[in-house]
Symmetry: D2
Subunit: 354 residues, 4 copies
């Protein structure tokens, strides 16, 4: 499974299964001399961690990141940053019932087919627990780019939609509610809905929107590694993601060029921003904004028909501790992946001209 | 600009500017012993080439691919396949008016900022002419996977939408009209609309849908290189793309898990296919389907305000030969990129188990 | 420092400093279904570990490898294999005297210049302690290729040379003496010499020879990734290595073609083996053999003049626990790197033809 | 054959067979704004090209490099530099006699085994003709690093050895004789010997030494991508190379640490240079010097026994035009590969610290 690395110069490689002893990673290529604020790292870990509120999974993990190398006397040394996060609160026996059974819309079947085996405990490697490593590394990426402001929030839960442009919302409201929606009234509506869904043993999807401000001009590498293309891969690699659009997105496909084009101001900024901060795959200095669609969590607490590994019909019901809606905890993951992308392109861009 | 390669084992690297002497590429990692049907390659080139109908750009390029290596006595030898495509019909003087002027929503400004220079003729490297190389390589990828059927078509032009699931359409209709829409009536509507838009000196966006059938189970490499994540990057790297969604996509974010989950049949296939043929980043053997949003072409034949490289206000009007809507010619490009992704994962999957 | 990964499909990434909390790595791309014998791993670790005999450094490290992921119920799962090795016996205060002083022929000066900082404790990242991770991963690579036999041994210590072709030596003698030289008499001579050198506070270099038998035909990827070229990089990346030659090596440069050419037997094997098992960068099934030159350890227990980070003259004398000759412990490292190279090419070769 | 790329940021990918229509390559990642002197490129091509003197192969190739992209108005644009070199003077019928016969110590057998097929004309991809592309790209790398001086020369032909340290030789003599040996008397001896060898229908090996002066401190990426390790791979990837040593090399393995260590001057330079300009895998600013061993050319004009692809005994005799000694033409190839390595590390080093 040679797909566990992300980035070219600022490169994260992760390891670990949901119910193994620990997860962790190596961040290679972080420049030397960067002062690391470990509290900022833990702050993002806490925003992602399970058990943080009543509308997320109740698995209790402190998710403390233990750095093993690459940081000396508070600063990066240019050597690889190795880190581990213990799995403290596994309840693997919750999963013995799925040892031979394929959960619908999970990765059980495809892992078994591809590898001929799988660690079935808690989804093993396919669990979103792996994203904790991304958040740890992303928190360092953010510190490499202190002037860049990356802000994600919940834009939809099921059919409840924020229905506002990012320009209209107050970012300071995001972390004030457990849903991470910047509109307090809609946040309450979403929270109530998630609770209702959970009480039904069901789950629901949603949309995360992300805005990146104060991006330097020039990030992104044409042709195949356009900034928005790599951002897209980064977001689509997050568990449960079904779609990615940036700038005008799918709605932009219905427009005419005369309306869609962003006319320039004299300083190179643009009057409108349908481009979403990226032109020709390269950042133009305007705000980057994009939307990420998450499907409903596949583990539901209702009975479902399925099959076992011998192709026999079976009935199953979810056990274990799960999120009724992944979106609130996905917000810091989206930010982390965005930070990793930008950090990598920031370093790559140092070689674009003599 | 170290971003001109795509793929890990089946790897395409391209070069070339719109108005340089030639474009071309190197396809490295194609297994030896593959019989190459050059007519199939040219067939896809012809589907992409300019001047093929009245609703596309009238630049005339034969777009004949000249293979220089890697094929001997009709078969691949395992060595890199080098190829060139001449630029026969450049009219570079059409572009002297933009030498110092930034076209709105083009890459002129960002290239200048990133590289400190640019080949302004026809957009240089940022031109979609580069995608001809992708189509050439993709046509070889298709031949590596003869059992896999990749079919793309126009699903929307501006606000005219096909409004049908791929299950409902007749693929045999696609190539019968210049828009490449599988519904003859809607195709005519789209064609009329594109002509109208062109007559107004304007452009319009659209959506391409792609369906991949008979995919082997097991393609895709978790965690970061999930099949749909790399497909997403591939599509977003095509010029003018603003969004990508697969399976249930953005609409799926509004659903509940109890409705979204795909229940298994006893043979491992699923009763529904909201997953879009991919679970946990790995193909499950069901149809893969996805949608790609294209913005309207930025070059319009209307007067627009803009600035020059000194930050002075300028007025400009598009010259040269351009597509009023990029979608009909994008259809084979989408297919080609899909083929490149699958070919690469097909080779990678040979090492997934002992 | 984005140079901490080795391999394309079977890829090892390592982290860790000599006196940090732990060192470790991630082995990505190991096929699923491989039964792992942990005792074989530990056996190789023990062959490399410090304190194993009187002629090596007396730092005491159990060097127990703790696997954190990727192995489930005794078999690989195809997911990344994360592992850590604790640093148990650091004596960092041995190194405070070199905090601002550059040890001659060490990496202190170059790290400071490149990174603007360094972890001076025990050489930090530049310490050969990092190679413990290579041995751990190499032991898994060996298990992936059970039919291939990789054997390294000490061929020279200082001017004491084995002076025998690998064909003439008895591999079963290698591990019977602490020098790992297959000739008992010469081994004793080497051992006595190393003890004498140590008593003088000095160090000495040497040569490791490695033989790889029963290699499948077809490993190696022309043009730049020729089997012997990647073996060469692998060996030269080991601390203190100054040279690499395979087959006829430097001596072969003095020969005529009529003498150097290896004539074929009817089964494709060759009558002689000046080629060293590699022709055109691809294994031909004959024994691969190569020699690796190691310089004398730079840390000596004699007074040396040097400079500090301000360019002032200083006098220093080695402290800490060091090897008087690195070669005996380098033997398993050479084997491990050879195993990593072969495992990677073995996987790559699965895609060479349809 | 996914091994046709070299470099991480400054990346060359080559294609082409000896008797195909053309060879060529793509140099991706060259920074924008670099003025390219095409005469300097051609100058190095001429130093490598066949037919340049009486002691090399008489195949006549102008070896003119045709640049197709990436250079505009005399400067690089940051886009990939595509180039082709025509094969003008193939005499493929010289090779029909080896269609089914394996030449001893050539790549015929291993290519057939690995790929199941091969382009037998002139050795196909395994021919050293491919190195023309390296020289073209290396000539651009040299221009990226104008302050660095890379000088290679012939240090041995068969048993005739220069027997001088690079410090003792006069570089200005190198290009004054067809052997490229800096000592006129020894050069004549070598030339006479090569002519004698050729008249016997035989070939001979030799050694190229290379010196790199005025290297910036800090190039090279520990751990696996140490400067000398990547230089080693680069050199070993050149056709016919059997060994690589730098600094004190194999001779250094016999020394004691007290003699081998390079003591510092107050400015950070060292009094001796056994290290060969590299410490801990990173350049220290001192001269880098290394030696490369080349085996005798395998094609000899004498009768040899061999086998065909069915395992039958055959007798064969070399035809075609070949070098009796590859070393004189290898000199610019060694320089080119050194330049590619340094250019890549130069770019990578831009990200080593904040």
């Amino acid at each position: 499974m040679a797909g566990n690395s992300f980035g070219k110069l600022f490169k994260l490689t992760t390891f670990g299964e949901s119910h193994g002893e620990a997860i962790g990673g190596i961040l290679d290529g972080c420049p030397a001399g960067l002062e690391i604020d470990l509290e900022l790292v833990q702050h993002d870990m806490d925003r992602r961690k399970p058990g943080q509120s009543k509308i997320v999974t109740q698995r209790k993990e402190p998710d403390t990141v233990k750095f093993l190398s690459g940081i000396f006397e508070g600063k990066t040394t240019g050597t690889p940053i190795g880190f581990v996060i213990e799995n403290a609160n596994q309840k693997s026996k919750d999963y013995t019932h799925i040892k031979d059974v394929y959960r619908p819309s999970h990765a059980d079947y495809t892992y078994d087919q591809k590898y001929g085996t799988r660690d079935y405990r808690g989804g093993g490697r396919s669990s979103a627990r792996e994203t904790a490593c991304r958040v740890a590394a992303g928190a360092i990426a953010k510190q490499l780019l202190p002037e860049v402001k990356i802000t994600a929030y919940t834009a939809a839960v099921g059919e409840i939609d924020l229905k506002k442009s990012y320009k209209e919302v107050d970012f300071s409201e995001i972390e004030k509610n457990p849903v991470r929606c910047p509109d307090p009234a809609i946040a309450r509506e979403m929270e109530t809905f998630i609770k209702k869904i959970r009480s039904e043993g069901d789950t629901v999807g949603g949309v995360v929107e992300c805005v990146i401000q104060d991006v330097p001009v020039g990030l992104g590498e044409p042709v195949f590694d356009k900034l928005h293309a790599v951002l897209g891969q980064a977001m689509l690699s997050i568990n449960a993601v079904k779609g990615f659009e940036y700038g005008s997105g799918f709605a932009g496909a219905a427009l005419k060029g005369s309306k869609h084009n962003d006319l320039f101001n004299e300083d190179g900024s643009t009057k409108t921003n349908h481009s979403g901060g990226v032109q020709g795959g390269i950042s133009n200095g305007m705000d980057i904004y994009f939307r990420v669609a998450f499907k409903p969590v596949a583990t539901i607490m209702q009975k479902q028909e399925t099959i076992d590994s011998n192709g026999n019909k079976r009935e199953m019901q979810g056990k274990g501790r799960h999120d009724p809606c992944v979106v609130p905890r996905a917000v810091p993951i989206v930010e982390a992946m965005a930070a990793l992308v930008l950090a990598d392109f920031y370093l790559l861009n140092k070689t674009s001209k003599i």
